[in-house]
Subunit: 308 residues, 2 copies
Amino acid sequence: MPTSEFTLIYRYFSALGRGDAVDLSVGDDCAILRLGEGERLATSVDTLVAGVHFLEDTFPEDIGFRAASIAASDLAAMGARPLGMTVALTLPEADDFWLNAFSQGLAAAVADYDLPLVGGDTTKGSLTITVQVLGALPLDGALLRSGARVGDEVYVSGTLGDAAAGLAFLSDSELCSPAPDNAGFLVQRFNRPRARLELGRELLGRASAAIDISDGLLADAGHIAAASGVKLVIDPEQLPLSAALAASASPEQARLWALTGGDDYELCFTLPAGESAPPGCTRIGQVEPGEGVDCGMALDIPAGYQHF
Amino acid sequence: MPTSEFTLIYRYFSALGRGDAVDLSVGDDCAILRLGEGERLATSVDTLVAGVHFLEDTFPEDIGFRAASIAASDLAAMGARPLGMTVALTLPEADDFWLNAFSQGLAAAVADYDLPLVGGDTTKGSLTITVQVLGALPLDGALLRSGARVGDEVYVSGTLGDAAAGLAFLSDSELCSPAPDNAGFLVQRFNRPRARLELGRELLGRASAAIDISDGLLADAGHIAAASGVKLVIDPEQLPLSAALAASASPEQARLWALTGGDDYELCFTLPAGESAPPGCTRIGQVEPGEGVDCGMALDIPAGYQHF
């Protein structure tokens, strides 16, 4: 018996739509959200395709949480205050078990990020999840990619390369041989990345440029360099590595993942010299005249994730 | 050779991102939009899947225009002022011909609706298009489904059933036998529906309830009835039919399409008795105590489009 779109939406998602900024949630033609006085809207959209952006056998809870985190990470990279999100879900069949688990993962993200689910669409087809995030920024501020200046210092939050190592482990790669505890940590870093929303808001008005690391540090730092018209010089010896990663791969492989592995969703940002960084962030280099990213190594890798 | 996501986005879509409300368009982690003073945000998302929501052999121009129109129609149904949209595009391969044609269709919608394309994502997979629309509403107003009151009159804009007839013709159904001119009109009504944005804004503050007709008049009028706690009584004899539809199908079939065919994207709305309707709208019934939609016929049809 067919389950209607309306039944699906209401059964699983309607409880996730409450929030301070939400005047109207799922159930009419549009959701309605209020911005504060003197605020403007920040928005971004990200799609995850099964078998491309996550392994086919990923738990639906993790897919839900990760899809929301990846989209919310763009709000973090702008320094935006989260308002809400919409989720467009294409799935092969209305599988109650799958939907229930997926909605649990979404619910965790809604609660963690204070990012209510205000709208959505469900359609039939290959498993694809598109999350649109909505946030608020002051009229006169935003963390852009284009503000890095010569003399600024380059920072990253957290640790890098963990998600790439976790994905390698999930893919049975010999490059990553973690002990059980470390395996759990690295896999979680891939499956349940955390959007750095609080850090992004803390950096607003302090950082000269910022981006979230989705495609790998070198690729994403390259976007700051290109948008700002400068060169980012990065010292690979300074890259923050987790103990779990350091214990699970060769030093060379760990560093390579930290430089080129995507999916960590940490923030890379530049601060004017002398400006102190928030706790948990590491200085990894400085901004110089020129272009591109210089990490002192010749790496034969594509510039970020290639979708085609 | 792989074409990067960035190249794709910039080549085809970056020219479509300019607009009065757009502070920052494609190229950073988020787009930034300004609402006017005393406005709030309306947003909706719609996904089209190849083979489900459009025929596999649809021209990419039409897919692009139609995807934008379907999403924009939700802004029309709320009475919202268009601000911008984002498009998440999943496609099997980076086909220059396809992308160019698709972007032409999107560009037509951007221009027609004054709805700049401010962001997007491109991914590899089965052809799926998700459009998120962003609009502005006054703090104290919106066309909701829930405001219909006993004694109000029920109206629709334009003509109904054309898109269903066009789809029937495209699907080689014997139920629709149009002359060439009429075939062109009916097919256009399916492939290039127009969002009634101007009408929606005109109805704001006048109509007591509104919805766009995407799933068929009976199904969508049923949403007004349910949300408002009333019965909508519709006279099938009053349904506005185009000359093209009337000339291409039996009177019974034409009426059935007008009642149950989706995809017209006209507006169905209720006005307090005595309130005059905008030009091009037709009174089709009235609001009475009770529930559901009564069209004086027993129709054995599903209540709207069933995605599963």
